[in-house]
């Protein structure tokens, strides 16, 4: 009897349904504990007043209504839009340009690629953000370098509300490495015979670029665009470090994620923070949907040819 049960137990253990759940068990547990329950809680908090010390109080749409008249909210939204809409195209153009330069076979190119990729690999580190802050100060190396080519400037780039956001944009553009590698992989997929045929037909470099390279790269451009836009909208660390955690001067570097952080963890307005997070999801969903919708107009898939 015991033997039979043991056998049944073994058979049960060996069934695909059980082993399957044993294997994905860590994910299921983690998903429930660290994603699903937090998401549901976040929805509830976004309709509540909650300071972490006393229990959350249901407050209807108050947080969302408050956002409309919150100057800093609008400021953070404009700053983020400005940042994302300038830094993403800049980064992609750089990335494509450099990828085109590196799309040839040579030992040296491999070496160059490594050097160009270096800033991106270390770019997320605090050391780089802190260094960047120093570079753009009044007596920093950027002003010294400008002085060398005859441009005198003694203003602090990070202290001036007009230029501070640009230090963040330049930092983002500087780290074009991962997009570059994706472009490079895309470029290598384009058959060389296409270019040869175009050359025989007397096409010049511009024609080859716009008629062959760009159309073939559109799926990669699409992918990079979506990924980088999401990255751009959720930028936090660089803005936090370069502005010293405040979003200053005059909130000019108060990106959305930074304002959300400050609301939740400096002012302990957890409800407002959650509401802001959901507005961010909404904004990202709209932009991603727009890119996806428009993709049928400009993204070219080779399978369509057949």
């Amino acid at each position: 009897m015991g033997f039979l049960q043991n056998n049944r137990f073994r058979a049960l253990l060996a069934s695909d349904n059980v082993t399957g759940y044993l294997f994905i068990g860590p994910f299921v547990l983690g998903f429930l504990a660290f994603t699903l329950i937090p998401v549901l809680a976040s929805i509830y908090f976004s309709f509540s007043r909650y300071d972490l010390l006393s229990p959350p109080v249901f407050d209807g749409l108050r947080n969302f209504i408050a956002m409309f008249s919150d100057e800093n909210f609008w400021k953070s939204l404009t700053v983020t839009l400005h940042y994302a809409f300038v830094s993403v195209p800049l980064r992609l153009v750089f990335a494509l340009f450099v990828a085109m330069l590196f799309n040839r076979k040579s030992k040296l190119v491999g070496c160059y690629r490594t050097i160009y990729y270096l800033p991106s690999i270390i770019g997320g580190s605090i050391a780089v953000s802190v260094m960047w802050r120093r570079l753009f100060m009044a007596d920093g190396a950027v002003n010294s370098a400008l002085a060398l080519i005859g441009i005198k400037s003694d203003t602090s780039w990070i202290g001036n509300p007009k230029t501070a956001i640009w230090t963040l944009i330049i930092l983002a553009a500087w780290q074009f490495g991962s997009s570059m590698l994706i472009f490079l992989a895309g470029l290598k997929q384009i058959p060389g015979s296409l270019y040869e045929a175009a050359e025989i037909d007397g096409a010049n470099a511009f024609q080859k670029f716009f008629k062959i390279t760009i159309p073939h790269l559109t799926p990669v451009i699409f992918f990079n665009l979506v990924m980088q836009l999401i990255n751009g909208f959720t930028v936090f660390t660089q803005a936090f470090v370069i502005s010293g955690g405040s979003g200053d001067p005059m909130n000019s570097t108060l990106v959305y994620a930074l304002y959300l952080y400050r609301k939740a963890f400096e002012f302990y307005d957890m409800g407002y923070g959650c509401a802001m997070a959901w507005v961010l999801v909404l904004i990202l969903a709209v932009f991603t949907a727009l890119i996806f919708k428009s993709s049928s107009l400009w993204v070219y898939y080779e399978t369509k040819e057949d």
Partner: protein
């Protein structure tokens, strides 16, 4: 004539790339070289080479901030990063095998859950997760940073699934005929065969965790628990006079582990990015 023209073009190409490349790495070099300069020499000059080569900044920096020696921060970082990376690699591989090779009830449902998790901005779960860990009394410990990493990271699970799907199913089947159970098939056959995906995951998770700032910022509020990234930020606190030399010295040291990984696994990194589209 055509030949000289070609050589000229090639020359222009390399000169341009090298000049632009210098511009690319200049900020990093500037920081590294500044760490060997005297404090007064760091500012107001764009030149790299220090007039007097000094190691003072390293000595000062190593003494740390807020009364905590810098060695503490390194120890904390290594502790957190290594555990989190081990957790990510093993749990992600296990979950990936489950999704890639086993048919079970509601598999597609869980797979969609995983994809949705991947697309959800961290800001949405950041606050409720913090509240959860706060209630559990885990704030000011490494638990909130490490425990979730043992639940499989969707992005890496996804990467490994792609990899496992590339392996022939016959491998599993013949092992099954030989009497191997699922767990043996996974640990003896699949896990060793997906080593490229394992290496990619290890490298990226190591350096993402090493650079992670927001997580430690939320959960570690005692200087003795600070990771290197938090400590560096404390150096640059606008409220106090900053010892830039010391900060650059420690900043340079903080890049050493990433740099070593970068140099030794450069090939995997580059391939990993171009095939999977990882952010950087």
């Amino acid at each position: 004539m055509r030949r000289t023209q070609r050589w000229l073009n090639l020359g222009i190409y390399h000169v341009f790339i090298i000049l632009f490349g210098v511009l690319m790495v200049y900020p990093v070099l500037w920081m590294v070289f500044s760490s060997f300069k005297e404090n007064t020499e760091i500012f107001g000059t764009a030149s790299l080479i220090p007039r007097h080569f000094k190691l003072d900044a390293y000595v000062r920096g190593w003494q740390g901030v807020g009364g905590v020696p810098f060695g503490f921060f390194f120890r904390n970082s290594f502790y957190y990063v290594i555990l989190a990376t081990i957790g990510t690699v093993f749990s992600s591989a296990v979950v990936a095998y489950g999704f890639a090779r086993i048919k079970f009830f509601a598999k597609n449902f869980w797979f969609v859950c995983m994809l949705l998790t991947m697309m959800l901005p961290y800001q949405v779960v950041m606050i409720p997760q913090f509240i959860l860990f706060f209630k559990l009394g885990w704030v000011n410990s490494f638990l909130p940073l490490i425990v979730p990493m043992f639940c499989g990271q969707p992005f890496f699970v996804f990467l490994m699934i792609q990899f496992i799907r590339g392996l022939p199913v016959e491998l599993d089947e013949s092992a099954k005929i030989d009497g191997c159970g699922r767990f043996r098939i996974f640990s003896k056959i699949i896990f060793p065969l997906i080593s490229p995906a394992i290496i990619t995951t290890t490298i990226f998770q190591f350096y993402w965790r090493w650079d992670d700032f927001l997580g430690p910022l939320l959960y570690l509020n005692k200087p003795r628990l600070y990771t290197v990234s938090l400590a560096l930020r404390m150096f640059a606190d606008p409220a106090t006079a900053t010892d830039w030399g010391g900060m650059f010295a420690m900043g340079t040291l903080s890049l050493v582990p990433i740099f070593i990984i970068f140099i030794s696994f450069q090939r995997y990194l580059v391939e990993g990015i171009s095939t999977t589209g990882l952010k950087g």
